[in-house]
């Protein structure tokens, strides 16, 4: 966006943060579990997926805070 | 006074350190005269203290002498364990000798921050001697690494134009190899104690003692030996420097100050080959005997010889020329080592000493010229024999020694190596001989361009010849060159027993030593052709 995000947009984004932190790892976990079962690798992909989901949630939050403080 | 009872090795190793500490605390940095004098006295004292080692060394006894042992870190099994055998003795004497010369050759070359310079030189001396003396792997690694720090500063503070780049390249390159060697040491430690990565350990008490771990390593299965050989290979090959890992050498040598180059060439490069002879060969004999491993090592050595010599031919900077010639000479040494017979190994170690003397002297000579004219480019010189005849004489003697003229030291080493290589394969000796020819080519061509003919550059017409102090730096090296060239027998005697041990470890049988150094070996009389068993 050319101009800084409006306050309401930021509030909206911030309020989804909690949901993001729950849904993202769960999505990663189940995706990884399905992939792992397909490839026969066991549970490791499930954990990796959960971790990746968590990481993406963190990074998203980090960027949000960065935008909010500017 | 029995020399074996007093801790002579520790004394020889730590006298320079004590000197450095005294310099730090008791000499203000303005008084450069006393600083220089004191540093020279300390280095000379170290040399004098190391001479009794040569005299009291028992040539006929196998194993380590002047052993000192104390426990340092019992939790890890590390001991403070010093001891030397013939190979270490020879290299230790080279270190003290060249170190002494390096100290007083810098009187006029270094004009600022002199106190720190001499402190660093003395510290470097301690660490180098420590590396050659120690018999505990952990301690060896400590000295090996810490040696890099003063050298980094020597290059970086008092060096040439691109000194920052050269210094950090030197440090990083060598460090990367050494840390891989650390993993090899850790692996050996575990093989000795509780095993790792699916290999069952021997269950002994934890120790880093080189003697014990050598015995342990020689009994390992071949695959593991090959892995560990290559782990150690990286540490040593970068220091030698062997062919693909040699790129740090020209930069470091060219940009270092004169004494730095001398020590780098004379001593630090020998650490790599020393490592191969002392550690890789006795510890991993099956790995070394594996055909492809020998093939790789010999190929790299020969490439080093020939490629190094060819690159030397086209150099325009004198110091870089000599640096690349070091690559070529040390390729020779590696070839001698991996010929795996008496002639090869003895020749290799002798050539290590010779290279130290002749290349060290070459760097000194170039440094003398640089102090006068502040340039090292060959094109800036020409016809120097006229204004500087004495210098020209010294240069000729050293150049001939470096290229291996008989009656000088280089010939003995090269001949022995060629003999050893020829015993393995005609083609090895052929390629090595090509290197000798190329060596003569670049050295003679250099000499001709710099010294013969008319004085082409008017700035060279009034150059002063060698001062007495400069002659004093070169004369011992020339004398040593002649002495080894005319009477190498004492050296061969010192090296005989350890070389036999190594050859026996690698091939399982002893051989007769080379014919011209005919020391009547006690029990074997049959002059069988020196053919190593595969």
């Amino acid at each position: 966006m050319p101009q800084p995000p409006s306050r309401f947009r930021l509030i909206g984004e911030a309020s989804t943060a909690g949901l993001l932190f729950v849904l993202s790892p769960l999505a990663g976990y189940f995706l990884g579990k399905w992939l792992g079962e397909m490839l026969g690798l066991g549970r490791i992909l499930a954990y990796a997926g959960a971790l990746l989901g968590l990481v993406s949630a963190f990074v998203n939050l980090f960027r949000l805070v960065g935008r909010a403080t500017r | 006074m029995n020399l074996q009872q007093i801790p002579i090795l520790s004394i020889v190793a730590y006298v320079p350190l004590a000197g450095a500490l005294l310099l730090i605390f008791f000499f203000p940095k303005e008084k450069t005269g006393p600083i220089k004098a004191f540093a020279t006295i300390v280095a000379g004292l170290d040399l004098l203290l190391s001479i009794p080692l040569w005299l009291a060394f028992d040539r006929a006894r196998a194993g380590y002498q002047f052993v000192e042992r104390a426990s340092w870190i019992p939790s890890l099994g590390v001991e403070y364990h010093f001891g030397i055998d013939g190979i270490s003795l020879v290299l230790l004497l080279l270190t003290t000798f060249v170190g002494f010369i390096a100290v007083y050759c810098s009187y006029t070359a270094i004009t600022e921050r002199q106190k720190e310079y001499y402190i660093l030189l003395l510290l470097l001396q301690t660490f180098m001697i420590g590396t050659f003396c120690c018999l505990d792997f952990f301690l060896f690694y400590v000295f090996w690494e810490i040696m890099l720090v003063p050298m980094y500063f020597l290059i970086g503070v008092w060096g040439g134009q691109r000194r920052l780049y050269a210094a950090i390249k030197f440090f990083l390159y060598t460090l990367a190899g050494s840390v891989l060697m650390l993993l090899g040491i850790i692996a050996l430690y575990f093989v000795n104690t509780t095993g790792f990565l699916g290999y069952r350990g021997l269950g002994n008490a934890p120790t880093f003692s080189i003697e014990r771990l050598t015995a342990v390593a020689a009994g390992m299965p071949v695959e593991l030996q090959i892995w560990l050989f290559f782990a150690f290979f990286f540490g040593f090959a970068i220091k030698v420097p062997m062919f693909p890992f040699h790129t740090w050498l020209p930069d470091a040598h060219t940009e270092a100050p004169t004494a730095g180059s001398v020590i780098l060439a004379a001593v630090l490069l020998k650490m790599g080959t020393y490592g191969f002879v002392r550690f890789s060969l006795p510890m991993f004999p099956q790995a070394v005997l594996t055909p492809w491993v020998t093939g790789v090592m010999v190929t790299l050595a020969i490439i080093g010889i020939v490629y190094g010599a060819m690159v030397t031919l086209v150099q325009k900077d004198m110091k870089k020329l000599i640096a690349y010639s070091s690559v070529s000479h040390l390729g020779f040494v590696m070839l001698g080592i991996f010929a795996l017979n008496m002639a090869g190994i003895q020749g290799a170690i002798l050539q290590m000493v010779n290279h130290g003397i002749s290349t060290g002297a070459l760097f000194l000579l170039v440094g003398i010229l640089y102090e006068r004219r502040h340039t090292r480019m060959i094109a800036d010189f020409g016809g120097l024999a006229r204004p500087m005849p004495l210098y020209a004489t010294y240069f000729l003697i050293i150049a001939l020694s470096s290229m291996g003229l008989p009656l000088l030291n280089g010939f003995i080493g090269e001949f022995a190596i060629l003999q050893g290589a020829f015993a393995r394969s005609f083609w090895w000796a052929f390629s090595a001989a090509t290197g000798i020819v190329l060596g003569a080519a670049y050295l003679l061509w250099l000499y001709q361009r710099v010294f013969f003919g008319e004085v082409s550059n008017p700035a060279n017409q009034n150059l002063s010849d060698l001062s007495p102090r400069e002659q004093l730096t070169l004369a011992p090296l020339v004398l040593a060159a002649f002495w080894i060239g005319l009477y190498p027998r004492p050296l061969f005697e010192v090296l005989r027993v350890p070389s036999e041990q190594i050859v026996r470890a690698v091939s399982g049988k002893t051989e007769t030593p080379p014919a011209f150094a005919a020391v009547p070996a006690p029990a074997d009389a049959a002059p069988a052709p020196a053919e190593a068993a595969r």
């Binding site: 960065g66 | 400590v142 210094a167 840390v179 993993l183 575990f190 509780t194 699916g198």
Partner: protein, 577 residues
């Protein structure tokens, strides 16, 4: 759970530190004109006093006394070591801040009080042996540190640092709690020793694995491992420099301590699950931390990335928990890391800053000419950070490489050593600026307190490097449950022995009669092997009875009662091995 009077005595150090913090706050409020240096000096004295109280408690603690507050806390040698280390880092920070805070325009009383409260939180953390107590003390430490990060209210970078730290930290604590709740749901227990005996069926195992993973993720945030490291460079750059130094040693070490304790004591059976994840995280941390540090010109950011890389090295020790060198190595490394990292930061504080948080490498120019001792000391710290012998950093790294090799992660060991070599490049950029450059750098602002802190760090770094035996022998006794002999390589499937709650015995005496900590146990590998007596009385089974649905703890009532302190602590394992 019975709370006994002696429990309060065992908590005396934490109480002392809390009281000092409150006292400082009161003093700062009552005497607003008090000099900052005086308050700083008082806070330093209170740290020293706490250390003395800790020594007295450790020496005089009655033998045979089990956990404190019925299993919430435990004062074993492991906790004692980390408490000393935490008090050391708090003390060093106070010394480093005295002049810094005095020169800035912000009130000093609350600063020092907050530091002390962070210390209290960390002291509780490292002796926690129950997931809830660990979590609560972690929060205490975190809250105080959020405020400290943003202490310089007027600087926008400080505010941004604090906000990022707070938001991300709060969410990571949430993730940690989420993981804890899953673990509790599976097992019905919160005590670490109870969790060690948790056995699960195949279905529960997945959920337990996920719970453990989330706990790991929350803790990895605190120690700033990749990929949870995003907050570290900005927070370190934005915080006041002494606080950045403190963050890099205090909370990180304490978080490592609880990571070690939780994963060593409670979850060793699940190593198959979290082992590879930790290995990959360690590899990523090493690569990313070192590569990113190469590109930095701001010294604080570079040190932030270097501390990320060091967290990666320490994870190698976590991987090697079942080897003799794993936990021992982590402790040695954390001790060495405290000294060397704090020393490096302290020398950054030495340089006068032209703008807030603007220290670049060129500020170090020509330091060797202006102040040779400072340059040599910084060189010592840089060598130690890069792992060049004979410094403490080398000893620590040696242990970690050994642990990784023994644990079977040879590829990771190779990566770690190469990363260590690469790291020399950016550390020596500073050395090159100090020694080789003639340009004018920043002036030095020295103070006695800061010099004292630097001297302590330098002494520690050098001594542990040259004569490490004393420290190593002491730390060998600090491993919870006793020193583990290396199991031979062909017995990898042997389970770990059950952890037993050790009694608090004095830190400095070595129980030489105890076969597990005797160094002679190294000599032969068959006599002091830890025996695995089956525990048939207090094993807790959590298999669901009929169907395979995930069922929450069948003994919910009992565990709730335990939490509320109504019933007595269940009988822990017998002390003999």
């Amino acid at each position: 759970m019975r709370v006994e009077a002696s429990d309060w005595l065992l908590l005396a150090p934490e109480l002392a530190l809390t009281a000092s913090g409150l006292l400082l706050l009161a003093l700062a409020t009552l005497f607003p004109k008090a000099k900052e240096e005086f308050l700083g000096f008082l806070s330093f004295l209170s740290v020293v006093f706490t250390a003395i109280v800790l020594t007295i408690v450790a020496a005089a603690a009655p033998r045979g006394k089990g956990p404190i507050f019925g299993g919430m806390f435990v004062l074993d040698n492991f906790a004692l070591f980390f408490k000393y280390l935490i008090l050391l880092s708090v003390g060093l920070t106070i010394l480093a801040s005295i002049q810094y805070v005095g020169a800035a325009a912000y009130p000093g009383g609350e600063y020092y009080a907050l530091l002390l409260f962070t210390g209290v939180g960390m002291l509780f953390m490292v002796s926690g042996s129950n997931l809830i107590s660990i979590y609560v003390s972690l929060e205490l430490m975190a809250l105080a540190s959020y405020v400290l990060a943003g202490y310089f209210k007027e600087e926008p970078r400080s505010m941004e640092a604090a906000l990022k730290y707070f938001v991300l930290g709060a969410f990571s604590s949430g993730v940690l709690l989420y993981g804890l709740s899953l673990v509790y749901g599976i097992s019905g227990r919160m005590g670490l020793t109870d969790l060690a005996q948790m056995t699960t069926t195949a279905d529960d195992r997945q959920l337990a694995g996920l719970g453990i993973l989330l706990v790991l993720a929350g803790l990895l945030f605190k120690i700033a491992a990749v990929p949870f490291h995003v907050w570290t460079p900005d927070v370190y750059e934005g915080s006041p420099t002494p606080i950045a130094a403190f963050f890099s040693v205090g909370p990180k070490v304490a978080a490592y301590a609880i990571l070690a304790r939780i994963f060593y004591v409670a979850f060793p059976k699940f190593q198959a699950d979290w082992g590879l994840v930790v290995a990959i995280v360690a590899a990523a941390t090493l690569i990313w931390g070192n590569l990113a540090a190469l590109l930095q010109t701001n010294v604080k950011r570079m040190l932030a990335y270097s501390s990320i890389a060091h967290a990666g090295y320490a994870l190698l020790g976590v991987l090697g928990f079942r080897t003799a060198y794993g936990l021992w190595g982590v402790m040695v490394y954390l001790l060495a890391y405290t000294f060397m990292n704090f020393g490096a930061f302290a020398l950054v504080i030495f340089l006068e800053t032209k703008g807030y948080a603007a220290e670049t490498v060129s500020d170090f120019n020509g330091l060797a000419r202006r102040n040779m001792p400072a340059a040599v000391t910084m060189l010592l710290f840089l060598l130690s950070l890069a792992g060049i012998p004979p410094t403490a950093g080398f000893i620590g790294k040696y242990y970690l490489f050994t642990a990784a090799m023994k644990a079977g992660y040879a590829w990771l060991a190779v990566l770690a050593v190469l990363a260590s070599a690469v790291s020399l490049f950016y550390y020596f950029r500073i050395a090159a600026a100090m020694f080789f450059s003639e340009a004018a750098g920043a002036r030095l602002q020295t103070s006695y307190a800061l010099t004292a802190a630097v001297v302590v760090c330098a002494a520690g770094t050098l001594l542990i490097g040259v004569a490490p035996e004393g420290v190593l022998a002491v730390l060998k006794n600090c491993i919870p449950g006793g020193y583990l002999n290396d199991l031979p390589a062909d017995s990898t499937s042997r389970p770990l022995p059950p952890f037993h709650c050790p009694s608090p015995f004095p830190l400095l005496t070595c129980r030489s009669g105890d076969p597990r900590v005797d160094s002679s146990s190294l000599r032969s590998s068959n006599d002091s092997r830890i025996r695995f007596a089956p525990q048939n009385d207090s094993r807790v089974r959590f298999a669901p009875q009929n169907d395979s649905r995930i069922r929450f703890a069948p003994r919910m009532k009992e565990s709730v009662a335990q939490l509320l302190g109504i019933t007595q602590c269940p009988n822990l394992l017998p002390a003999s091995a």
